[in-house]
């Protein structure tokens, strides 16, 4: 067990490293079950999360942010790419090894109404995995559960109650307690507050922040609510149609969004001030189908700054400023422009399938 828990790269700066992660869902024909296409839910996403930090992942529904979160935890198998937790490739692990790593990575789901078993009392919901993984010796089990519940703001006498007796906010606390009970390093929060009311949202966000401070947790915070993401995250990645379009620290990305999609997304945030002067960039149309994404830059069909090159060549993932990555032809340097122009010429000449460009982080 020890050699798995303390891998070689323990002291590296990053807890989670995702490299070129790809997850396609095959579309089968109805009769022969042949694969006739792929839904490219996650199509080459790369990022790293530092220990004890929170990365926010934002984007419209259907952009692949949840799939990304689940694939990172190996709740789904990848199509290609690499995910390393503590320097260890998650997808290289055998079944038994994976089982031992599981407590270190947990998830909190969006809907607290459907993610708790209605047949188990709260104590058992939280304790089930603790017992399974042998986190604490059996004689300390009860005390341990009480302690975990206390940390999450749940009184002890809730232990014997059932999920239906609780409100949404309390259920979400139970979900968090369940994840926390395994003393994880990394928690994927998949829209943990979007099903909750504003005042309850604040309670849960504060709880998540407090736990992070106390236990040094690392979060991947998936949400479509940008104001929540800004509040909780250290770094933010913006996804569009399966690809990351921009990634930077929260300060940089909110102060100076580069990608036209990010700009439009941020301008759409409703601000609770009737006098606020907002220059909304209203995007035309809706998100294209991920089964048949547009050629070139995936956003070019809705982009205000669409150029000829955008229709043919996919933009490169480049570090535009320090720690500010963006994939957009507007920010290409001369070299990247040249490469893109060459690619465009090739595609135009042959009208062949666009060559998938290697994304470099």
């Amino acid at each position: 067990m020890e050699e798995i828990r303390v891998p070689a790269a323990q002291n590296s700066e990053y807890l989670v490293e995702v490299e070129n992660l790809v997850k396609w869902f095959p579309i089968k024909s109805s009769f022969f079950k042949r694969t006739i296409g792929n839904v490219k839910a996650v199509d080459g996403v790369s990022f790293k999360i530092r220990r004890g930090e929170t990365m926010g992942l934002v984007g419209e529904s259907g952009c692949g942010k949840s799939t990304c979160g689940r694939t990172i935890l190996r709740l789904m198998e990848k199509t290609s790419g690499e995910v390393r937790l503590n320097g260890q490739d998650i997808f290289a692990l055998s079944r038994e090894e994976l089982r031992r790593v599981r407590p270190k990575m947990q998830i909190v789901f969006q809907d607290p109404y459907s993610s708790l078993s209605p047949r188990l009392p709260i104590g058992e919901i939280i304790g089930e995995a603790v017992r399974e993984h042998g986190i604490v010796p059996p004689e300390e089990f009860d005390d341990y559960i009480t302690r975990v519940m206390d940390v999450c703001g749940l009184p002890e006498y809730y232990k014997d109650r059932y999920p239906h007796e609780f409100s949404g906010g309390q259920r979400q606390r139970i979900c968090i307690a369940r994840a926390l009970a395994l003393s994880p390093d990394f928690i994927v929060c998949d829209e943990p507050v979007s099903a909750l009311d504003v005042s309850i949202q604040a309670q849960i966000i504060n709880l998540l922040k407090q736990l992070q401070k106390d236990f040094g947790l690392t979060y991947l915070f998936i949400s479509h609510d940008l104001s929540v993401v800004e509040h909780i995250s250290d770094t933010v990645g913006v996804m569009y149609l399966g690809s990351m379009v921009e990634y930077s620290t929260t300060e940089k990305i909110f102060a100076n969004p580069l990608n036209p999609y990010t700009k439009a997304l941020f301008s759409a945030i409703p601000i609770p001030d009737p006098d606020a002067q907002i220059h909304r960039i209203i995007l035309k149309g809706s998100i294209p189908s991920p089964a048949n994404p547009p050629r070139g830059c995936k956003f070019h069909t809705r982009c205000d700054h669409c150029m000829e090159i955008c229709k043919y060549a996919p933009p490169e993932w480049r570090e535009v400023e320090e720690e500010h990555y963006c994939a957009c032809h507007l920010y290409n340097d001369a070299e990247a422009n040249e490469r893109a122009a060459k690619l465009m010429a090739e595609i135009k000449a042959g009208e062949t399938e666009p060559v998938k460009e290697e994304e470099v982080l």
């Binding site: 504003v198 949202q201 800004e230 909110f254 941020f266 409703p270 609770p272 606020a276 809706s286």
Partner: protein, 395 residues
């Protein structure tokens, strides 16, 4: 100790449960009968508007649900007006009665358990005449719904019928309220509506089924259906909650433009303060079935008076305003079956004072447009009286 008390409060004996059922049956039967009687006589359901410039006036409306665990006062003495050509935002958390208020106006409550037991909802029919929606019979309501008052629901995924084409669903409304129109005219009207809500490929969409459209497009269709008869009031019940931010911006922009084009009023029900700030002229803040504060958007957002409104604003993270920790309102909403007889917000309030232990606070007018129900403003403005609740024992 706490455990025992908690268990006690949610426990109902078989006997008690039977008593509640008997009581509910008796009361709802009586109310249904009274409503049917009132519906026969037009003088009982027509009335005069207090102010010509309002589209709807809610006057001490009480809507109760006679449930198996007791009477739930979902809306309890709600007072507000919707002026012509304006947008009124109704804000509050889930379960505060904002949706029930709108359902009372549409008479879409789940009867017989849901009943509007008191107050008047006056709907302006022009020339000072008004319908009192509370007593209006179904036959008249059918001419109002979709025609004069229409509603846009939260879930565009579920509010369209999956087995009918989009065109048929939009046609239906026009045809129902304008039986004299020919089929060609109806179709022309539908295409015009689809155009109005910004659907580019209108001829194509006319022949499509709902599952072929995205969420934003479906919501546009719902809006087209709602606007087909140019209603005087559009009730938008969380119209953008199920949508993405970028689509939300599109839909809100669209609603605002259409409102001006059709000279309609909008009652915008939402829990998102950001949406209200961008859209509404007037804001009503509800908590536990009652209005705690109402005023113009400027009053509410720049001079919030009620502790609940203040708490709500502080608990929402705002882009560009970094705070270390969000404020959270302590505690939770009181049990709707057994509401306390003092201010509903007292137990969660950090500003409560000695008077708060007394009865529920009266409405106090602190400026021309700004009304708040809080003892902290006692003596700082004209008292408008206490909210009138209906005594369920007397029913």
């Amino acid at each position: 100790m706490a455990e025992k008390e908690k268990k006690k409060s949610s426990y109902i004996s078989g006997r008690e449960s039977r008593r509640i059922t008997r009581y509910n049956r008796r009361v709802t039967k009586k109310l249904e009968k009274a409503r049917a009687d009132a519906g026969k006589d037009p003088s009982l359901y027509t009335t005069r508007m207090h102010d010509e410039n309002n589209v709807v006036e809610f006057d001490n409306v009480c809507t109760y649900f006679f449930s198996d665990v007791g009477v739930v006062k979902a809306v309890d003495g709600v007072n507000f007006d919707i002026p012509k050509c304006s947008t009124v935002g109704v804000v509050g958390e889930s379960g505060c009665g904002k949706s029930v208020t709108s359902l009372s106006l549409m008479q879409l409550l789940q009867r017989p358990s849901g009943q509007t037991v008191g107050g008047e909802i006056r709907f302006n029919m022009g020339g000072g005449n008004a319908y009192n929606i509370v007593n209006t019979p179904n036959s008249v309501m059918e001419t109002l719904r979709g025609n004069k008052i229409s509603m846009i629901f939260q879930e565009p995924m579920t509010s369209l019928n999956p087995v009918f084409r989009i065109g048929q669903q939009v046609d239906e409304v026009t045809k129902l309220h304008n039986p004299e129109m020919s089929d060609e005219d109806v179709k022309a009207r539908t295409l015009e509506m689809l155009d109005l809500v910004g659907i580019a490929n209108k001829e194509g969409v006319y022949e499509m089924y709902p599952h072929e459209l995205s969420g934003g497009m479906r919501q546009r269709i719902c809006i087209a259906i709602a606007l087909a008869c140019s209603p005087t009031l559009i009730i938008a019940d969380e119209p953008t909650t199920a949508l993405d931010v970028t689509i939300q911006a599109q839909i809100l922009d669209l609603l605002q433009n259409l409102k001006d084009k059709l000279n309609s009023s909008i009652m915008l029900i939402t829990h998102d303060l950001g949406v209200v700030a961008g859209m509404a002229d007037y804001v009503v803040v509800m908590y536990a079935g009652r209005i705690v504060e109402k005023g113009t958007a400027d009053d509410i957002f720049h001079h919030p008076a009620h502790p609940y409104t203040i708490g709500l604003m502080r608990s929402k993270p705002v882009v560009g305003r970094r705070v270390e920790e969000l404020y959270n309102i302590p505690g939770s909403v009181p049990n709707p079956v057994e509401m306390p007889n003092y201010c509903y917000f007292r137990d969660r309030c950090e500003m409560h004072c000695a008077e708060c232990d007394g009865r529920y606070p009266p409405e106090i007018r602190i400026s021309d447009t700004h009304v708040v129900s809080c003892y902290r403003f006692l003596g700082q403005g004209e008292e408008l009286g206490y909210p009138k609740s209906v005594n369920v024992e007397e029913l």
